[in-house]
């Protein structure tokens, strides 16, 4: 078992596709941060003072209108208003703000999931297309072991790669905001950043398992990528349109909820349903491990030509 894990890990890190994806993602991260830094302009003292005055006026309005009808925790209306009103929105310039890092990380989720999906689908699909699955099975004929070890190694590899890339993004973003932006952050910011990083990375890992499982069933990388695309963009769209309430069981909505890390309300205006992050995580896990189980069971009984 250890030997098989070691072999799969060596294969995973030797794969050109993984290296190409990593380099492309890295270039994308560097380019995005550099562009953001170049476009970032720090406000001068006068702009800051004006924004501060506008913010204070807005706070006063807010207090006068009893926090716009919101219920203040502990009755501290002014504290609630100050939490709502961000002085930076009154600045004419748009500096890069470290406080926006969690949102930036969330925005990378689509790419991270795509990377995971491609890595997983190609890791399994390539073995079928080149015939190396036959070779591997002449070394380790216990197919369930082969399928599960590969899924675990590919998922861990995808998680590590995505976490590394997001870590690099965080580092570059921090440097950019230190040089050409604002570094003030609200309370709980660091926890939120770590939470988003972990959730997005794990979703990338789950996507790699889903991609690998479909490639195992279709014995082809393209089958996996095409299948996921058709499912997410067509089938889920149809189901969502016909039966909005079923949205809480759909992969897309649950992935979105996990990325956000907060409750997601879905519906069509007439009926709404709330998906909680914990429930969404369970649904994503069911999809992931369910597909893996089906693919492994199929792999165990089908002939290998």
């Amino acid at each position: 078992m250890i030997g098989l894990i070691s072999s799969e890990w060596l294969r995973m890190r030797s794969r050109r596709l993984v290296k190409v994806l990593a380099v492309l993602a890295l270039l994308g991260i560097v380019a995005a941060v550099v562009i953001g830094a170049v476009q970032s302009e720090l406000p001068n003292e006068r702009d800051l003072a004006r924004a501060e005055r506008q913010a204070e006026r807005e706070v006063a309005n807010c207090v006068a209108q009893d926090a716009y009808g919101q219920e203040a925790p502990g009755g501290d209306v002014e504290a609630l208003c100050r939490e709502f009103i961000d002085q930076s929105v009154f600045l004419a310039e748009t500096p890069l703000r470290l406080s926006e890092l969690p949102e930036t990380l969330r925005a990378t989720a689509f790419v991270a999931i795509l990377i995971g999906l491609v890595i997983g689908a190609s890791a399994v699909g390539a073995s079928w297309q080149t015939g190396t699955m036959t070779t591997i099975l002449t070394w380790e004929p216990r197919r369930a072991r082969v399928a599960l070890v590969r899924a675990v190694v590919v998922a861990l590899g995808a998680i590590a790669l995505i976490a590394l890339l997001l870590g690099i993004l965080i580092g570059l973003f921090w440097v950019a905001t230190s040089l050409r932006g604002l570094t003030t952050t609200p309370d709980g910011w660091a926890t939120e950043v770590v939470g988003v990083l972990m959730r997005v990375s794990v979703l990338g890992g789950a996507a790699s398992i889903i991609g690998g499982a479909i490639a195992m069933l279709g014995r082809n990388s393209a089958a996996a990528l095409g299948g996921v695309f058709v499912y997410l963009s067509v089938l889920e769209g149809i189901v969502r349109g016909l039966r909005p309430a079923l949205g809480r069981f759909l992969l897309g909505d649950n992935i979105t909820t996990v990325v956000i890390g907060d409750d997601l309300m879905i519906g069509n205006g007439f009926t709404t349903t709330t998906i909680t992050p914990s429930r969404a995580a369970v649904v994503v896990a069911v999809y992931t491990f369910g597909l893996l189980a089906v693919a492994t069971a199929s792999f165990r009984v089908r002939d290998v030509q």
């Binding site: 072999s7 060596l10 070394w139």
Partner: protein, 413 residues
């Protein structure tokens, strides 16, 4: 169990009484043309160990070698293979509470009533293998022959657990396939059809990836690469290899496990004449080391030069099996071919002397054993007829193969 050319199975081994490990191993080595010294060494070793138990004799041998008790001789490949084999047989017999018998060692591959039907998408099915019985004894080169579509590759796939038989039983190194294949596969090296390798990795990286599954290190990889003559190209991407180089790399991968059984499907495919000769030499040497080399091929002359035994399949069925000489004898004429200037006169002279002969083409086929060919030449010379050529009436494997497969095709409904 197996059908043979001559109507029976492989001749049963004469020894059936219980044997101790040392004797088993000694017989194994004897069968594989080992030296007296190797046999003595094995007997010393196994008697010094615990002959009545299922001890891991390989581990003991290695331990002894390290301690210097037996020196480097104990590491001789044939001896190590014998030890490995005896250990395995001993463990199996011990677990079953049965006495060790020479018969236990008879076959490394046993196929009984194998049938494989492929279902077609549009209904119906294709019968690839039909009630195939086959036994492959331990050691030497075993040729597995058959025309395209005869079921050779399907049989190999069933043997390696890649394809599930529709019916029948397959055993490899005493392990039931596919249920217990996991324990046996580490002693089996194989190539199925063309070697399937990772094209965008180097040759060495391919071997590293496979070797890691069994914890095989770089030293063994170097030896395997050297053995197939790929050391200089090991750093090149496999996608840039010629077909012959890929075959060599496939063989190197199969050798990595230091296997006691090699299952090779058309290993000479894509090789140039020099490469074919190299591979032939390699497979013969592997067989001579005591390994069992099960090789399928359609290059019949290669098999005839290389194999100790053959099996011929046609339309999914075994049509002949046994030592090459027996298979050839089953179809060969016991006689001599004679050429002379006046064939008609020669034929009359031989018949007049009571020697059975027929005219065929530019020669006479004379039905006398080779060792009595002097009779033929004397009879003709006495009548003033002088022979220009006299040779044994030998058939080659190709002729036998074509006859057998044609017979089978004609017999098919």
């Amino acid at each position: 169990m197996a059908e043979t050319c001559c109507g029976g199975g492989f001749p049963p081994e004469p020894r059936q009484e219980p044997l101790v490990h040392g004797q088993l191993g000694a017989q194994y080595l004897d069968r594989n043309r080992a030296s007296e010294a190797q046999i003595d060494r094995l007997e010393d070793l196994t008697h010094a160990a615990a002959p009545e138990s299922g001890s891991d004799l390989v581990a003991i041998a290695e331990q002894r070698a390290e301690q210097g008790g037996f020196g480097q001789r104990v590491r001789h490949p044939a001896l190590m293979l014998a030890l490995r084999h005896v250990s395995r047989v001993a463990a199996t017999a011990s677990s079953q509470g049965a006495p060790l018998q020479w018969a236990d060692m008879a076959s490394v591959i046993e196929i009984e009533g194998l049938r494989k039907e492929y279902r077609r998408l549009r209904g119906g099915s294709t019968l690839a293998v039909d009630r195939l019985d086959l036994e492959v004894p331990e050691g030497g080169v075993f040729g597995f022959l058959g025309p395209n579509g005869a079921g050779k590759t399907t049989t190999i796939r069933c043997l390696l657990g890649l394809v599930r038989p529709s019916a029948g039983r397959v055993r490899l190194l005493d392990a039931e396939v596919p249920t217990n294949l996991g324990s046996a596969i580490r002693h089996v090296g194989s190539i199925v059809e063309s070697p399937a390798l990772f094209p965008r990795f180097t040759g060495r990286r391919n071997l590293e990836i496979l070797g890691r599954i069994d914890g095989i290190g770089s030293a063994t990889i170097d030896v395997s690469l050297d053995r197939v003559g790929l050391t200089d190209r090991a750093g090149d991407l496999v996608k840039n290899y010629s077909l012959g180089m890929k075959q060599r790399l496939g063989i190197a991968a199969a050798l990595l496990k230091d296997p006691s059984v090699l299952v090779l499907d058309e290993p000479a495919n894509g090789l140039d004449p020099a490469g074919i000769v190299d591979v032939r030499g390699l497979l013969r040497s592997l067989g001579a080391e005591g390994r069992t080399v099960f090789v399928s091929s359609h290059i019949l002359s290669e098999i005839q030069h290389m194999a100790d035994r053959v099996a011929i399949v046609a339309r999914g069925r075994l049509v002949a099996s046994g030592p090459v000489s027996e298979v050839l004898a089953s179809r060969g004429g016991e006689g001599v071919i004679v050429k002379l200037a006046d064939l008609r006169a020669g034929l009359d002279a031989l018949r007049a002397a009571g020697i059975e002969a027929t005219m065929g083409g530019d020669a006479l086929r004379v039905a006398v054993p080779v060792h009595e060919s002097e009779r033929v030449s004397r009879t003709l010379a006495e009548r003033g007829l002088y022979i220009t050529e006299l040779r044994p009436d030998e058939v080659d494997l190709e002729t036998v193969f074509l006859e057998l497969t044609r017979d089978e095709a004609e017999a098919a409904p």
